[in-house]
């Protein structure tokens, strides 16, 4: 897919999504706001996830992703759109959160979830992510001019700082923005669970964008099957990591069986919710696990199918976390749920294509580029 077509489709999807959101707000406002929270959180996470991908590769000394590093770099451009969506939900529909709708909480929880503190924190999380996205991407763009290794040294320092800051802020953000929809329920592993979803989603997006750009000839000599193979390993690994953390949360709550904890699962196993509950496991782990098992699969179109399934699973995962908490009754998927997701996909494509076009498709003067080009997985 060329950048022009990407932009074209981005505009179309975003416009169609915007019309759909408008209709949804008229017909099923509550569900549309919940759908907006799902899509905005997913979009913001994908954007900051691009930076997390770079930071993790940088601090672990991995040079193999350098050849396609411009993809996660450009993905970071999706962060502002996601942040805007989140801000819209928080400011225009705060009543999605029971404690913003008048329910009084006590003790530390009451102080933590006070409106002013909540909004300040949200601004700090998003501000920090945007700042580090800008700083880290800037080192890469600056290296295009002089090829100096000091940009790499700076990227390593920034990445090390960001990994710590991101871990803490994303953990708290997933508490604030998702877990507090059910303020009496808690799970200490919830932040890790959300990180697992974020990272497998980011790897899936990078795989799809890389394959699309390669077909358009944009990354033709640089991106090789060896790179896809290792991206496939990462997707396989983080899909399994997601399953591991999913099980850690579910099993401990099942085992102790304390009502204030198990209520979360009781709600999500009632009636037709149970089907979606197990479908979530299938889409995020079983299907990608089986599809990516062989070496051949990681080097062919199969990896794209696996990535597509993981993205569907990511939406369903967020739907299962957010929707039952915000809306009562049986699951529904209609315009209120689909339109925000379509708009988010459009905005992601649009932001990505614009940012990707603003620099050479490969960081040509990165000292590690040659290692990445001659890489054997």
């Amino acid at each position: 897919m060329t950048l022009g077509r990407m932009r074209h489709w981005g505009v179309r999807l975003a416009a169609a999504g915007a019309v759909g959101i408008g209709l949804g707000l008229l017909r099923t406002p509550d569900r549309t706001w919940a759908g907006l929270l799902i899509a905005s959180f997913g979009l913001a996470a994908a954007g900051v996830g691009g930076v997390v991908f770079i930071a993790l590769c940088t601090v672990s000394g991995a040079t193999w992703p350098v050849a396609f590093r411009r993809i996660p770099e450009a993905l970071a451009a999706a962060l502002p759109a996601g942040a805007l969506g989140l801000a819209a939900v928080f400011l225009l529909r705060p009543t999605l959160y029971p404690w913003l709708a008048g329910e009084t909480l006590h003790g530390f929880k009451g102080a933590w979830l006070s409106p002013a503190f909540f909004f300040t924190r949200a601004a700090i999380y998003l501000g920090l992510w945007a700042l580090f996205a800008w700083l880290i991407v800037r080192t890469s763009r600056a290296q295009d001019h002089d090829g100096s290794a000091r940009h790499t040294a700076r990227r390593i320092k920034l990445s090390a700082a960001f990994v710590v800051i991101f871990a803490l802020s994303f953990w708290l953000a997933s508490y604030d923005w998702i877990m507090s929809l059910e303020p009496h329920w808690y799970s200490t592993i919830f932040g890790v669970y959300n990180f697992a979803g974020l990272f497998s989603c980011v790897v899936a997006i990078v795989v799809l964008l890389a394959m699309g750009l390669r077909r358009a000839g944009l990354l033709q000599p640089a991106l090789r099957d060896e790179h896809l193979h290792d991206l496939g390993k990462l997707l396989f690994a983080f899909s399994s990591f997601w399953m591991y953390i999913w099980f850690c949360q579910a099993m401990l709550i099942w085992y102790t069986n304390i009502p204030e904890e198990s209520v979360y699962y009781v709600r999500r196993l009632e009636g037709s919710w149970a089907t979606l509950f197990y479908l979530n496991v299938a889409l995020n782990w079983v299907v990608p696990f089986v599809l990516l098992l062989t070496r051949q699969a990681k080097r062919t179109r199969m990896i794209a199918y696996a990535a597509g399934v993981v993205l569907l699973g990511r939406w369903l995962d967020l739907y299962l976390m957010i929707w039952p908490a915000a809306i009562a009754g049986a699951p529904h998927v209609g315009i209120g749920e689909i339109a925000p997701a379509v708009a988010a996909a459009g905005l992601l494509l649009l932001a990505f294509a614009r940012s990707f076009a603003s620099a050479p498709p490969v960081p040509l003067r990165d000292p590690a580029l040659s290692a990445s080009l001659h890489y054997h997985s």
Binding site: F247, M251, W254, Y255, N257, L293, H376
Partner: protein, 177 residues
């Protein structure tokens, strides 16, 4: 039946890799390459088929998971039903961690055992090949002279052209290598 071998010793992995590639494209049978560390791309250069070790790992893993799951269900719910915390006897979530661990254990051990069996490695086995330095800082490419055009002199010239630092000719019994 005895086999006539030419052994080229090299100082670097680059050289042995290049020599193996050249030998293969010249159609000369490569008996083996000896190296103190794994060399990226040597399988391809030697024309080795893909390792089937992962298959042994998969089968072992599936067996381990299935076996222990059956064993847990049998012990906890069939042979001696135990009430643990008021949970049902057959409580699948409680069995999953052990199932996972045993899958990893059986998968890993199967791969190791399969390697030992396929490579016919056993305690006390005499080394089939020895050359100074191949467990230290040397790399060896072993070629077999099977046909008339592969005279010892031509193979020697070929190895020298690929920067071999030492060349030996050996005659071994059919089963030795």
């Amino acid at each position: 039946m005895s086999r006539h071998l030419s052994v080229g010793l090299f100082d670097s992995d680059h050289d042995v890799l290049a020599a193996a590639r050249a030998a293969r494209s010249a159609g000369w049978p490569i008996v083996d390459v000896y190296s103190p560390h794994p060399i990226h791309g040597i399988d391809e250069a030697m024309g080795l088929p893909r390792s089937r070790l992962s298959l042994a790992c998969l089968v072992g893993g599936i067996f381990g998971a299935a076996f222990i799951l059956w064993f847990e269900i049998w012990t906890a719910a069939v042979d001696w039903p135990l009430n643990v915390g008021g949970k049902p006897f057959n409580s699948l979530p409680a069995f999953i961690p052990i199932t996972f661990e045993m899958m990893v254990l059986f998968g890993g051990l199967s791969a190791v055992v399969a390697l030992l069996v396929v490579a016919r490695l056993r305690p006390g086995k005499a080394p089939p090949f020895s050359a100074a330095g191949v467990t230290d800082d040397r790399f060896a490419l072993v070629l077999e002279r099977t046909s008339a055009p592969m005279t010892a002199a031509r193979v020697r010239a070929f190895l020298e052209a690929h920067r071999a630092v030492g060349i030996e000719e050996r005659v071994v019994g059919g089963e030795d290598l």
